[in-house]
Symmetry: C2
Subunit: 211 residues, 2 copies
């Protein structure tokens, strides 16, 4: 196992990481100096230059123009691929939901990535035949184009709903289909907006602490 990075370099990486984490923006040379316990800018510059060459961080000219690159996060032992889940309180999805006390807000400056995927609590039994039960939560990946047969999250006016999206060659051509014979299918209208596709289901019983 060969050493890609020296201990000191890694330490600097950690300092940068910690700083960003707590303040929301990158550190200056002076701030790095202090957290590293050195007194010269050059010391920081030397280390930083190595990190830059190794594509662990990027640095542009100017104040605080520093960012950690994927390789850097990897070295910090944080997985490079992530999925963001938003737990919405308002806005896009229709109703506020709360996911037990276990899940909590994370630092603000990051919540911006939540475009990708968000989470919704399901109420009702209209999709039980697709394995989605009342009280489950679903992950919705936002997208624009949909394929017939996908389970989607749609908004109809102010209300959000989860149904199977279908398009046919016979009337009503395009519609939402509940997965429960008790319910009628819903023809597509212009008040209807498809927000995303359900990519996962989180079963109700697992959100709660398991006794």
């Amino acid at each position: 196992m060969e050493k890609l990075i020296t201990a000191r370099q890694k330490q600097l990486l950690g300092v940068i990481y910690d700083f960003i984490k707590s303040s929301g923006y990158p550190p200056t040379f002076a701030e790095m100096r202090e957290n590293l316990g050195v007194s010269s800018n050059q010391s920081v510059a030397d280390l930083l230059e190595k990190l830059r060459q190794l594509k662990i961080v990027k640095k542009e000219t100017g104040a605080r123009t520093l960012a950690i690159l994927p390789l850097g996060y990897k070295l910090l032992n944080l997985p490079p691929l992530v999925l963001i889940l938003g737990v919405t309180t308002a806005g896009m999805p229709a109703e506020a939901i709360e996911i037990s006390g276990e899940w909590r807000p994370v630092s603000q400056e990051v919540s911006r990535l939540i475009e990708e995927v968000f989470m919704l609590k399901v109420s009702g039994d209209s999709m039980i035949n697709a394995g989605i039960d009342d009280g489950d939560a679903v992950l919705v990946q936002t997208k624009k184009e949909f394929v017939s047969g996908e389970i989607v999250y749609a908004q109809i006016g102010d209300e959000g709903t989860i149904k199977r999206f279908m398009s046919d060659d016979k009337p009503p051509y395009v519609y939402l289909k509940p997965e429960n014979p008790k319910y009628q299918l819903i023809p597509f209208t212009h008040e209807m907006e498809l927000k995303g596709k359900i990519i996962s289901i989180l079963k109700n019983n697992y959100w709660q602490p398991i006794k």
Copy 2:
């Protein structure tokens, strides 16, 4: 519906957001000026001051000491509460996993939040009685202290495993219990490290595109 924020203020907020998103660090006054199409710092300062008063952004003295606060993200129509899932390739969890082409890496400067929760693919049938099947994925929330009965992700040497954590008043006192009668329980040893608690299960059939 009363207006909390003016159009121009919101525009600045958007400019800041976009800048951070693409560069990884906050903009300077000059950069905001340009993206806003004004020529005076004061113009930016005025708007920024409002955003600051309204607790939409925070601003410290110094270069690029700017960050968006939760309220700001809310105004940008991004959910304020988020959960981060890491999909690991190596390191903490035992094996690389890939979640269909649908899920993709997000900007690097953010992956640092993944300490919270990560995702693992499950192989094997040792937990079928707890509803966790081969091919499912689970969400693991990292923590240090565990309660008897929780389903946990544990590492034994290099290998990761999912089991129910149990502690008793009779031997073997502390152990991991498979939820499948085919398998034996595993007494706790010092090579064993509990990484986190399973908080959700993503059923295999929902990762794949639904036909």
